[in-house]
């Protein structure tokens, strides 16, 4: 029997000072040339396995490891990172933390220089990799000016410049917007196909990835499933990994031969959906009670914002938000979403035009004063944690406002958000999902009427996204005004939002209900947004006449109540 790319036999691993194993009796064999996706919920051991294969565990991290691990025939547990340098390439989650140099070209040369490769060979390799990944426009750029997607491409390029046989990627899509994620996945498929590199991706965002995978492994401390992607997808619940909506639909309808893409789904569902009678009524949109009677909490008139660099980030934005609205602001990276929400509590002031929040002109009030009315939860919870315990952290914003029963209020909110058992823990010991909920709790504690969340689903697995959706829906029901910015379209398709605001290059391109926006091909195209898969399917089959489902549950509802045969 020949050598395998990866051989993991009965591996159990404990981190230092941990009594629970991060991996338990894991055995995986991967052949050369395979494209393997290893998925699973957060905390399931994906990153741990990636670090074992790359030789970082146990050599850098310590801990106790039982079992055998061979990568390209080398025993990495005994020999460590150095033994496999140049044979494997590793790409981690946060691209900017893996780039060491200030200019892209220097970064591409870095690893080869460390390995002592001759300068003329390095220059040739750089040329090859630039051509193969089509990144000639990036080569002279300063690395700190790159976007997330561009940075991840540079990391990938610098890794494959060494010509590794195996490429390991640990959640490479977590910090990318949908279009950058798709581009990266296509590059990986190309490297697998044309350069015969074995690709192993640890990721729970499967939508774009799965069609290229030759094999899907579900890891939750143990190997739960391993095999052909279609077979594995039909067996696992959708809360564990982010399954393409069309695959989920087929699983729920118990259809054999699960489709992985909208194209495949067209064949599967053509007959069924064409026979539906359009008697479907929406279940998703909330019926807003007399919108005109609710007071306006945010009024934005002719807002322009020009940064000191001269960049026009917002151009003539007009927006009205009423009390109790649930609004989503969508758009590709750089569309101006974050700049807009920073105007809502005065972090940024209008260059021209005005923003009025609960009757206060933001130009005339301090951030502290405005934050009483608008609470913003930013993308990275770690940017706000400083207290020793979860309770202190949650109570902080109420305490500085002189609210008497700050701790009682914080305790109550933490319990509602499912963190009641963690009051005495350090915020840093929490999981990603718990940290996100703590960040929300620390804003809710002083009861601002408007709550704004910037990219709240970034880095969350599907189960945690469902929890988040529950929290937001509850807030809206309680009468709060909720505004979210997101590029997570599949998440949005399940959310009961009243209105979607589409932004592109600093302008509001369109405004309307989810259904109006997601079924408007022109608007989505010009704002570089891909519609949810269910919408793509309905449109591809041209059966939208009177039937406008947004997500899997709505489509199943349609099928049930529209007498489809």
């Amino acid at each position: 029997m020949g050598k395998k790319a990866v051989e993991v036999s009965n591996v159990t691993y404990y981190y230092p000072r941990s009594r629970l194993p991060a991996l338990e009796d894991v055995s995986i064999n991967i052949d050369y040339g395979e494209f393997v996706v290893i998925a699973g919920a957060s905390g399931g051991g994906k990153s741990t396995l990636c670090r074992i294969l790359s030789g970082l565990i146990p050599h850098v991290y310590g801990g106790k490891l039982k079992g055998k691990v061979y990568v390209d025939g080398i025993d990495v547990v005994s020999n460590g990172v150095k033994s496999i340098i140049g044979k494997i390439g590793v790409v981690f989650q946060v691209p900017e933390n893996q780039i060491v140099n200030l200019v892209v070209e220097e970064e591409l040369a870095f690893m080869l220089e460390n390995l002592g490769v001759e300068p003329n060979v390095i220059r040739k390799r750089i040329e090859e990799v630039v051509k193969s990944l089509s990144i000639d426009n990036l080569i002279r750029r300063a690395t700190y000016t790159l976007s997330g997607g561009e940075s991840q491409k540079v990391v990938l390029a610098s890794t494959i410049a060494v010509k590794p046989k195996i490429l390991l990627l640990d959640e490479p899509l977590a910090h990318l917007d949908p279009s950058s994620a798709l581009e990266l996945v296509e590059l990986l498929a190309k490297l697998n196909r044309e350069e015969d590199i074995t690709i192993i991706v640890f990721e729970h965002r499967l939508v774009d990835l799965i069609k290229y995978a030759s094999r899907l492994i579900i890891l939750e401390r143990k190997v739960i499933a391993d095999g052909d992607p279609r077979k594995v997808l039909s067996k696992i619940p959708t809360t564990r990994v982010e399954v393409p909506a069309v695959s989920e639909l087929a699983t729920k309808l118990k259809i054999n031969g699960i489709p992985l893409t909208v194209e495949e789904a067209k064949q599967c569902f053509k007959q069924l959906l064409s026979s539906c009678k359009p008697s479907y009524k929406s279940t998703n949109t909330r019926s807003s009670s007399h919108p005109e009677k609710r007071r306006e909490v945010i009024v934005i008139d002719n807002l322009w914002h020009v940064y000191s660099s001269g960049k026009e980030a917002l151009k003539n934005v007009n927006l009205r938000v009423r009390e109790g609205d649930f609004i989503a602001i969508i758009g590709a990276n750089g569309a101006g979403k974050t700049t807009l929400i920073k105007h809502l509590n005065g972090l940024l002031k209008p260059t021209r035009g005005r923003v009025v929040v609960c009757g206060i002109d933001t130009r005339k009030a301090s951030v502290a004063e405005l934050s009483r009315h608008v609470g913003i939860v930013f993308q990275n919870p770690l940017h706000q944690f400083f207290a020793e315990t979860v309770l202190e952290e949650a109570a902080f914003a109420a305490k500085i406002r002189g609210i008497d029963d700050a701790y009682e209020k914080a305790t109550k909110i933490l319990k509602v958000l499912g963190l009641g058992h963690l009051l005495k823990r350090s915020p840093y010991e929490l999981s990603a999902g718990e940290q996100r909920r703590l960040a929300i709790a620390s804003i809710l504690v002083y009861e601002p009427p408007v709550i704004v969340l910037d990219e709240p689903t970034a880095g969350l697995d599907p189960g945690l996204k469902i929890d988040l959706l529950g929290i937001l829906t509850k807030l809206v029901r309680e009468g709060k005004t909720v505004i979210i910015t997101t590029h997570d379209i599949e998440f949005l398709a399940k959310a009961p939002v009243d209105r979607v605001v589409v932004m592109n290059e600093g302008r509001v391109l369109a405004e309307g209900s989810l259904r109006e926006i997601f079924y408007d091909t022109e608007v989505l195209k010009s704002s570089r947004i891909t519609p949810p898969q269910i919408v793509q399917l309905i449109k591809a089959l041209s059966v939208e006449n009177g039937v406008f489902p947004l997500n899997v549950d709505e489509l199943i509802h349609t099928i049930k109540y529209s007498r489809c045969q």
């Binding site: 970082l56 850098v60 200019v103 460390n114 700190y144 930013f378 804003i443």
Partner: protein, 256 residues
Amino acid sequence: MFRGFLEGFENIFAFSERRSRFHGVDPRVKMMYIAASIVIAFLITDPLKLSVLILFNIVLAVFSKIPLDRFASAFKSLAIFTAIIYIINFVLRIVFEGPTIATMINTALFIANVALRMILVAVPLMIFTNTTTPREVLQGLVSLGFSYKYLYVIVLGMRFVPIVFREVLNIYDAQRSRGVEFERSGVIDRIKKLKTIVIPAFVCSMLRARDLLEALELKGYGYRNYRTFYKSLGISKLDLVFIVSILALYSTIAMV
């Protein structure tokens, strides 16, 4: 104010990707240019001479294609810094010499002179950092016999300083959004509130350092005692003309 101050300093040190003749000058020559500028700033006290030299260096800066807005924000930060020095000086002089108009004027003249000298160093430094990548500096030093393993720390510093600055700004915004008021409080209170920035900044930097350590291990940093450089260094005739002209000009003005 705090935000603008940080942004200004970030701009002084950031490498600019616009290509100019200066980007190609040998890093060792550029280091000599910085050294010469520092020496001349110490030697000369005459405000007229200082102004001429500053003007000359500003012309060089324009040729090196430094974005204008960078200049503006860098000078703004320098102005704030100078104002702080002025106030400290003024208070000290009042304590020792008494509050007279002469004290005020003398302090102002003294500080103006210090400011001119600072600008005379700041402009060449800006030209240097905007046109030279830290790695080129490193390569220059390695060619002089230093070990790359220790020097790369400087490159990492230069690479991550702007990122950490940006992160501190984000943390600052996140805390203000929760209602922390940095501007309207007393000195003691302000210091107490600083922990809301310092702790998250520290934790985020530690996490970043862990990621970076892993990346360096996997990129074979320190794998061998020697390393190659994909570009070779070389002082061209034009580089020589540049440094000789600078030295000639500086010494002429110093001696006039």
